[in-house]
Amino acid sequence: MSFILEVRDVEKIFTIRKGFKTFRVMALRGATLTLSEAEILSVVGESGSGKTTLLRVIGRLYSENKGEIILFGSTVPKKLNKKQEIDFRRRVQIVFQDPFSSMNPVKRVKYILERPLRIYGMREKDEIKQKLEEVLQDVELSPAEIFLDKFPHELSGGQRQRVAFARSIITAPRIILADEPTSMLDVSIKSSILNLMLKLRQEHKIAFIHVTHDLASARYISDRIIVMYAGMIMEEGKAQEIVKMPLHPYTQLLLKAFPDPRGGKEKLSNLGEPPSLISPPEGCPFQPRCKYRTIECENLPPLYDVGGKKVRCVLYKI
């Protein structure tokens, strides 16, 4: 099976200006990944790990400084022209973290859902109406009529996130890039959104790149998990395996730190904080915090293949 999306060695550097000095923030360093049809890939990491940047580069909200993005076998240009853009957006959609801010608060649901259709050239009123009802059913908001005339603030968080998903599937995309879609939701409804994603994958054969810091959610819905740290991919593998048997010391730390009511946790000592992205450490970015650190860590290790998993750590050097 070929991949519907390939990301090769993508690098993203932000320059920020402070007074006269400009700083280069290495938000993303050499990210490579693939996505198959109807696959759910979770990208897990702490804030500053580059996971959202990765998503936005793929979603063409940022353009990469280096690397290549291949969608359905053809390279996506850095700057899209109008036609390319519409073509691209139709196939790749993004769902944002905060349903409270990802929809224009002064527009009704109907308008919010209609816009993509109109941008992509649909003019027929009946057709649009039918389409709207269809997608609202798909995201389990029914009866559709009730919701169409509502403003976002009249909906609950979960409902809003459903509308956001409705907006993203209305153009029948093949890929949805979901940026922490559940992190702002109440615990009691989190799982419903996860379930919705599973359902959309099932019914519409949509592939997801799901960015999250919540390992439990990632484990729940994804086929594969990528762990990112300081702008780099540290580990990649099947979801269950990553959670059960993390290889990279960072992944291990992350898992240990993750709250688990049933886990009799071993104690972590104070392990410092993620590195600055302006002047990241030489070699493995995790080495200043790593208890297995050796002299070899001064050089950046490649992603090693370890039993179907990939891991960026010298411990697994063969």
């Binding site: 936005r56 944002f96 990802s102 929809m103 224009n104 002064v106 907006r167």
Partner: protein, 269 residues
């Protein structure tokens, strides 16, 4: 809430007077109807001016141009500051650096002296010039507020979301973001109107507008040039001032009210 009612009531009275000045005013404001410098009497509740024109009628008619100039200044300033603030805040980068430096420059160069200097050189005098001079020298403050609001809106997910569905920048700015800033713009407008009213009064008082047109500002100019206060004609100075202050207060209240609505941190429970 009471602020709103008070403001609307004051504004309403002014608007009614302005609309029906012809009917309410006892005389034609530019007609010489009596001897000059008549003290208040039954015929002339506020006396007559140096030419023998009825001051009350002038006061009532004056509201027209005063309000018109104030509102026009407000509209023009709001238009300028919204457009510039929007472009500057939305595009960021070089566009922003140029526009916001320009804004800052206009913000720190003192407005009234600049207005006076410009008015001193402009040979044509009239309401339009007054409106342009005030608005063009004073759009900086509003622009800054709009810009910072746009910058915070720009980072909101919904703008990202709109970009992600391929919405054009123009549409994002003026169809999507603008309605979100509606109350801010309205607040801005109200304070700009207040500024316009006071600005017009100041320029007119200095004789830098067309003083043959009747506004409250030019009334004060005439009163001053006729030595009204030293001659005991305090009512001639008091009346237009009260009119300006009350209209100004209405707009200041509206501004404050909308400000409170917009800025949840100011909201009274």
């Amino acid at each position: 809430m009471r602020k709103l009612y008070v403001a609307i009531a004051i504004l309403g009275i002014h608007l009614i007077i302005a609309a029906f000045a012809d009917l309410i005013a006892p005389y034609d404001p530019s007609e010489i109807v009596n001897l000059p410098y008549q003290p208040p009497s039954k015929e002339h509740l506020l006396g007559t001016d140096r030419l023998g024109r009825d001051i009350l009628s002038q006061l009532l008619h004056g509201s027209r141009l005063s309000i018109f100039i104030g509102v026009s200044v407000g509209a023009l300033m709001t238009l300028l500051s919204t457009t510039i603030g929007m472009l500057s805040g939305y595009y960021g980068g070089v566009v922003d650096r140029i526009l916001s430096t320009l804004t800052d420059v206009f913000l720190v160069i003192p407005g009234l002296p600049l207005m006076i200097v410009i008015s001193a050189y402009i040979r044509v005098r009239g309401p339009l010039v007054v409106i342009l001079v005030i608005a063009l020298t004073s759009w900086g403050g509003g622009t800054r507020i709009i810009r910072s609001q746009v910058m915070s809106l720009r980072n909101r997910d919904f703008v990202m979301a709109l970009k992600s569905i391929g919405e054009s920048n123009f549409r994002i700015m003026f169809f999507e973001m603008l309605p979100n800033m509606f109350s801010l713009i309205v607040a801005n407008f109200f304070s700009a109107v207040l500024y316009g009213i006071l600005g017009e009064a100041s320029l007119s008082f200095l004789g830098l507008s067309d003083v043959s047109k009747i506004t409250w500002g030019t009334m004060l100019y005439w009163a001053q040039s006729a030595n009204a206060l030293l001659n005991g004609m305090w009512y001639w100075v008091l009346a237009p001032g009260v009119a300006i202050a009350s209209l100004g207060t209405a707009f200041a209240l509206l501004n404050f009210y909308v400000d409170e609505l917009t800025n949840p941190r100011l909201r009274r429970s």
